[in-house]
């Protein structure tokens, strides 16, 4: 149980960062932290106590395997997360070139 709570705390840490940080890079980092909290949740969902890696050997089948599907999902989600982060950083670098700052308060042009 404690693992799930910690996972949720990690998610909240990321959310706090997204909401309060003023630096573009820190916002991107906080989003990544949130993402990884969710990946952790996905892995935990597939985990079973004393389960083995789900590689079935017909000679000596194990009693219990962990669920492989969430692991496949996590791999896909990590790739998507990588793309998101790369895209965010590309935009942040472009913004830095225009404004010479990462501070979101000085970048804000758009309103309402």
């Amino acid at each position: 149980m404690i693992v799930y709570v910690l996972c949720f705390v990690l998610f909240l840490v990321g959310l706090y960062g997204v909401l309060t940080r003023r630096n573009l890079v820190k916002i991107a980092i906080s989003l990544s932290v949130m993402e990884f909290a969710i990946f952790l949740l996905l892995v935990l969902i597939g985990y079973m106590d004393h389960g083995e890696a789900p590689i079935v050997d017909p000679e000596a089948p194990a009693a219990l395997y962990v669920d492989p599907l969430p692991q496949a999902m996590v791999l896909t989600a990590i790739v998507i997360g990588l793309a998101t982060t790369a895209m965010l950083m590309a935009i942040a670098i472009r913004l830095f070139r225009k404004y010479k700052t990462f501070d979101i308060r000085e970048i804000r042009n758009l309103r309402g």
Partner: protein, 511 residues
């Protein structure tokens, strides 16, 4: 027919990769490859109407069938609802691409534009066809990722900032959706939407289901820009290149937001009264708020973006009313009217909002400004743009004989039949406000006699841009024909059967 289904995803995906890979070698590859693949998609999507909607078609990706009665692998499902969405996507996509052929000359590295455009189409087709929750998420990410890049395509200060904001909120939405999918998998141990439904039907853990539904509503609501989650939309849709705005406003918020919401809430969860009420209220609020905010805008594209929020509110409200009526189990005709009207408005809104953004693009192309105060008297200088935008404005404000009138009329009628008198009154009121701000747009852009600067030098836009606008304007008129009983039954009845989950024996003869 089944074998054609994966092509809806494969064709745009392959052309996106080929455009990037071979674009350096073959100079004008993107100029014919992208329109050609979109045209093929459009023909295929329209062709899907031919077998007259028997049982939904399904295709197992990679040939993984079912093992001991359990579905293994990823199914693609094409039913009445996804067929309508496929047609909308490829129709608006083709016309926006035709328009881009002249419009995108203003940007550098054009071939990336076409590649990203194909990628958006591939992602949305995937979302619409997927019968698997996680696969839906993956395709959703493909399409929104391409849209993040396209919003920033102008690489100016405003575009970059809008794209960053869009990405942060879009990323949050994706995470909420992913958490919801993870939790659903935890409970059901399956990702297939049909299997999930069967397992959830036997599940009476109400608080768990509620939590997941709220997460999904927030996630897809962010993608669909329903009102408390709408902050990113005006920036993102106003900053993107105009054909892309037409795609985003006309199609992406529907495919990624409303389609997914409707699919999951109608077909996966058992309907419940509280969520139906929440959806109806959110739809109504965004309908009213969007129109109020649009009224005070002076930037053409921002005005249209707020108007999108308002019109999408109509659709969400109609779907919510349908859910409420179905939960109460009374007045099936009214529920059918509400949902059918919502779907009709979905189709109509993509046509006229696509057209309006193309008009805005034409104005921007010639005047280099989006400020209404600097326009005026353009009706003579740009006759095609003026006429088509007038058609679109009348259509979106719900004046007969254009398509917007019929869909709004059906929604209002359904509200009265279902005894939601307040909602009916609000829908009429918002329609009047919509007429107000589109008259403002018409007056300041085309009719006002005080001409803006450089009026003499302004000419009509090139042929490929004008032809796209004319096609959409003609469609605005001809889509009203869909209220005819035979066409209506062919197009909307299969979708209604899918959404209402019952064999609808009674026809829509109540109108």
């Amino acid at each position: 027919m089944e074998a054609l289904i994966p092509l809806f995803i494969a064709i745009p995906l392959i052309s996106a990769f080929l455009i990037v890979l071979l674009g350096k070698l073959v100079r004008s590859l993107h100029l014919w490859m992208a329109p050609l693949s979109l045209l093929v998609l459009l023909i295929m999507a329209l062709g899907m109407f031919i077998p007259a909607g028997e049982s939904p078609l399904s295709y197992d990706m990679g040939g993984w069938g079912s093992l001991k009665g359990i579905q293994v692998g990823i199914p693609l499902i094409l039913d009445g609802f996804s067929r309508i969405m496929l047609c909308i996507i490829s129709l608006i996509g083709t016309i926006a691409l035709l328009y881009s052929l002249s419009y995108v000359r203003r940007y550098t590295s054009e071939n990336y534009f076409y590649a990203l455009f194909c990628l958006i189409i591939a992602g949305m087709n995937g979302v619409v066809l997927s019968g698997d929750l996680f696969n839906l998420f993956v395709f959703l990410e493909v399409s929104v990722m391409a849209s993040y890049a396209l919003v920033a395509f102008g690489v100016g200060r405003i575009e970059l900032e809008a794209s960053f904001r869009y990405q942060v909120l879009g990323g949050l939405a994706s995470m909420l959706i992913l958490v919801a999918i993870a939790l659903l998998y935890w409970q059901t141990k399956t990702l297939n939407i049909a299997d999930t439904k069967e397992i959830l039907d036997g599940n009476n853990n109400r608080s768990f289901l509620f939590f997941v539904q709220v997460l999904l509503l927030a996630g897809f609501g962010l993608k669909a820009a329903i009102v408390p989650f709408h902050a990113w939309l005006p920036d993102a849709h106003a900053s993107a290149p105009s054909p892309v705005s037409a795609m985003l406003s006309g199609v992406l918020i529907k495919a990624a937001g409303i389609y997914a919401l409707a699919r999951l809430f109608f077909n996966m969860f058992a309907l419940n009264h509280e969520m139906a009420l929440v959806i109806t209220v959110l739809g109504t609020v965004s309908m009213v708020m969007g129109s109020m905010l649009a009224l005070v805008q002076w930037d053409v594209k921002r005005m249209f973006a707020y108007s999108s929020i308002s019109q999408v509110g109509y659709v969400v409200m109609a779907l919510g009313m349908g859910m409420l009526l179905m939960v109460r189990g009374e007045r099936d005709t009214a529920a059918m009217l509400a949902i059918g009207g919502g779907l009709f408005h979905l189709l109509n809104h993509s046509v006229f909002k696509g057209l309006l953004f193309l008009n805005a693009g034409a104005l921007e192309h010639r005047l280099e400004t989006r400020d209404l105060k600097q326009m005026g008297g353009l009706g003579e200088a740009m006759p095609v743009t003026g006429t088509t935008s007038l058609v679109a404005s009348l259509s979106i404000s719900g004046l007969p004989p254009f398509n917007g009138f019929f869909s709004k009329f059906i929604i209002i009628l359904a509200a009265i039949y279902g005894r939601f008198y307040l909602l009916a009154a609000l829908a009429v009121l918002v329609s009047i406000i919509t007429l107000g701000y589109f008259l403002k747009f018409q007056r300041f852009a085309f009719f006002n006699k005080s001409p803006g600067p450089r009026k003499e030098s302004i000419r009509e836009v090139p042929f490929s841009m004008a032809s796209g606008m004319v096609i959409l304007a003609v469609l605005c008129l001809f889509l009203s024909l869909l209220v005819l009983p035979s066409l209506r039954d062919a197009v909307f009845l299969p979708a209604l059967e899918v959404l209402m989950r019952s064999d609808v024996t009674l026809t829509l003869s109540g109108i």
